[in-house]
Amino acid sequence: MSAVAMRLDDRIADRVNLLRQGMTTWLFLLPAVIFFVGYQAYPIFRVLWISFTDYEFLTNEPARWIGFGNYAEALSDPLMWTSLWRAALFTIMFLPGTIILPLLLAILVDRVTDQRLAALYRVVLLIPAVIPSTLVFVLWKWMYNFQSGPINHFLVDTTGLFTLQNAPQWLGGTPLTLPSIAIMEVWWGLGYHTIFFLAGLAAIPKDLPEAARIDGASEWQVFWHVTRPRLAPIMMILVVLRFGTAMAVIDEYLIFGGFNRDSPTYTWTIFMYDQAFKLGLWRQGFAAAIGMIGAVGMMFVMVFLLRIFRPRG
């Protein structure tokens, strides 16, 4: 066999090996690919397609392609903008509570030197996070109840700060509804978010703050120049993740606010649900367009947040 032929054989053998390796890799990747296509890509493209049609769930007429008709209708509807703004307002109320309070708590718990006590604090903090959502909603609905809730009982019957006529109306479409839900959400996620920061704090070598203190840095300077920059990746993850979940809240609004269009809880997610499953012949094409507008808007803000909170240096 000539040298040229041997080189050719080697090259073919290499290619076959590469292909075999590639096949093996794809074989292992296949479950994830199937899952991704079936549970993520397909539904997204399906909804995208529906958003360009006049599909109504309650009729048996076939859906017709109407181009950007649904998008134009949604974008020219003041309710779309109002409902997006309401979701943003809730996010503005909620997001600081996922960073500042858990960060503060994490720093305090991190300083507890008694390991058993530190473990106890961690468990106590995590209790709300392991309560099922239904129980959390029932609990807070009772807490906030105008007539029989413990908060108003304290304000009216115990302290006499209010009367039955002017006591705060926490839920049900009043201006207090969004802050009330935000407080509930912050409480619910407190332990979960604190654990994120505790993990971040545990990854900071202890000699770094010690060295800073020896060099004369104040506790604030230690936090600002040593701790905070090293927690930036965690902050970024939390802000981006929780921004997404806060903007897309729906269960809480359905439970605490219903379908009153004047209610601050009538956000774009409720608008979408209302159109898709409640009103008329269930205009799911239009509802899909509302969803797409909300999702694309959120993605733009997420890119912006990723840039702002990106770890520097």
């Binding site: 009153n260 209610s263 008329g280």
Partner: protein, 459 residues
């Protein structure tokens, strides 16, 4: 895939039935279940091995009920016992959704044969539009059809066909806490007119017998509509929508505002309740004995009075009238719909007849049981005639009062926006109730425009 699943399901159910009836032993049951679990191959194997007789049978009658119906009416299992093999199920939907039914109908199939839980004005039009249900006319016996109280029959009929077989009747009426009214020095009787009602409510507040005089449920179909009907039941447009700008509707809105002046401040709040159904602010106030009079369907005060020191202090009566009003009210039934793609349709009719005529269910509903006191009434003339002829010792007076009102009462007209028109309209008429809009007619005109705008969306 769906057909295969259904076949597997039928086999599993049939095997279960035969086990319960003692026709097969547990070992045979397990064998069949295992074979069925093999999917289509299993189905074929079952058929080949001769134990497919179960598959050859139709599936058992499969009704689906809402959980709350079962909770409020504990005698339903006794009716089921009269139908051996009935595959009684609880609806697989949260709240009052029909999504699953519609989705199945699109594939021309139905897991269930009959749906017990349909409220005509809420969902019947939608289910017809989506081709989910078919009329009962071919299956309901003529004597039963003629026995339905005419106003109820009208409620369940669209285009001359009976799409709903009525079961549980809810009528909006007035109830009061006699402990509160007596303390306020008021007579222990139902106020005949709204003027009297308002004067009494004010007396309750002024005398400090209770912090609040009266209350209502702020959902339009539970307050605006019955109050409008008490003036006139002719408040529907040609297309079947509620005529929000009619005189009766405006009078009702103004009445609501007057009642609010003697009521609890959270009366208009939504969303603090269980899906807008239970635990509404009016119910909480009435349960806490903080209010004298209460306008709502009777099962609400009956449920709330169970929390009182003395539940016997609850008295029920008809809705008051306007001075020149018709004296009608609103009602609705929760009944049964026949799935177009279901099976066992004759059997379903037999079952629903037995269910809706069951004497024990009505006694429990009206007199109450340890598990609840729904106060829902039957839809048939003959049952009331029988009670009139031989009044049972457990029969409260309010039943005959309500029956009397039913001849004048009217259900909300069926329309695809039957319920949603009130959901869309509430924030707009609330503007008048809250004082943000001074002209009730202007507020109601905005409701009309908003409903029309929503209807214009889509095809």
């Amino acid at each position: 895939m769906t057909i295969r699943k259904e076949q597997e399901y039928i086999l599993q159910q049939a095997a279960r039935e035969q086990l319960l009836l003692g026709n097969i032993d547990r070992r045979e049951f397990l064998t069949r279940s295992l074979v069925t679990g093999l999917g289509l191959a299993g189905v074929g194997a079952v058929a080949k091995t001769g134990i497919g007789t179960a598959f050859a049978q139709d599936r058992p009658l499969t009704p689906t009920f809402y959980q709350w119906i079962q909770d409020l009416h504990p005698s339903i299992p006794a009716v089921n016992a009269k139908f051996p093999g009935v595959n009684y199920q609880i609806a697989p939907v949260e709240g009052f959704g029909i999504e699953r039914f519609v989705a199945e109908a699109k594939n021309k199939e139905s897991t269930w044969d009959v749906y017990v839980g349909q409220t005509p004005f809420v969902e019947m039009s939608a289910m017809i539009e989506a081709d989910v249900i078919e009329p009962w006319d071919d299956y309901i016996p003529k004597d039963v059809l003629d026995d339905i109280i005419p106003s109820i029959r009208e409620e369940c009929t669209i285009n001359g066909k009976l799409y709903g077989w009525p079961f549980l009747l809810d009528v909006i009426g007035n109830s009061w806490h006699s402990g509160v009214t007596t303390k306020a020095g008021l007579p222990d009787a139902a106020p005949a007119t709204w003027d009297e009602y308002l004067a009494n409510a004010k007396t309750i507040v002024d005398s400090k017998a209770a912090p609040f005089g009266a209350t209502f449920d702020a959902h339009g179909w539970r307050s605006l509509v019955p109050m409008a009907h008490s003036m006139s039941s002719q408040v529907y447009t040609k297309e079947g929508l509620f005529d929000f700008t009619s005189d009766a509707a405006i009078e009702a809105l103004m009445l609501m505002k007057k009642i609010m002046a003697v009521s609890h401040p959270d009366i208009l709040l939504e969303g603090a309740s269980d899906g807008g159904v239970n635990g509404t602010p009016d119910e909480v106030a009435f349960a806490a004995q903080r209010v004298g009079y209460f306008v709502k369907y009777f099962n609400a005060p009956l449920r709330m009075a169970q929390y009182w020191d003395d539940p016997k202090a609850l008295h029920l009566g008809p809705l008051p009238k306007f001075a020149n009003g018709e004296g009608s009210t609103a009602f609705w039934t929760t009944g049964s719909a026949l799935f177009k793609h279901g099976k066992n349709k004759e059997k379903a009719a037999e079952y629903i007849k037995a269910l809706t005529y069951d004497a024990q269910i009505w006694k429990d509903s009206i007199a109450g049981t340890a598990s609840g006191h729904p106060g829902q009434l039957p839809p048939y003339k003959s049952i009331y005639l029988e009670w009139d002829a031989n009044k049972p010792d457990w029969m409260p007076d309010f039943v005959s009062l309500v029956r009397g009102q039913l001849d004048r009462a009217k259900a909300i007209t069926n329309h695809i926006f039957g319920l949603q028109q009130f959901v869309i309209g509430k924030p707009l008429w609330d503007a008048y109730l809250k004082g943000e809009e001074t002209d009730p007619k202007a507020a109601m005109q905005k409701v009309v425009e908003a409903v029309q705008a929503e209807m214009k969306r889509g095809k």
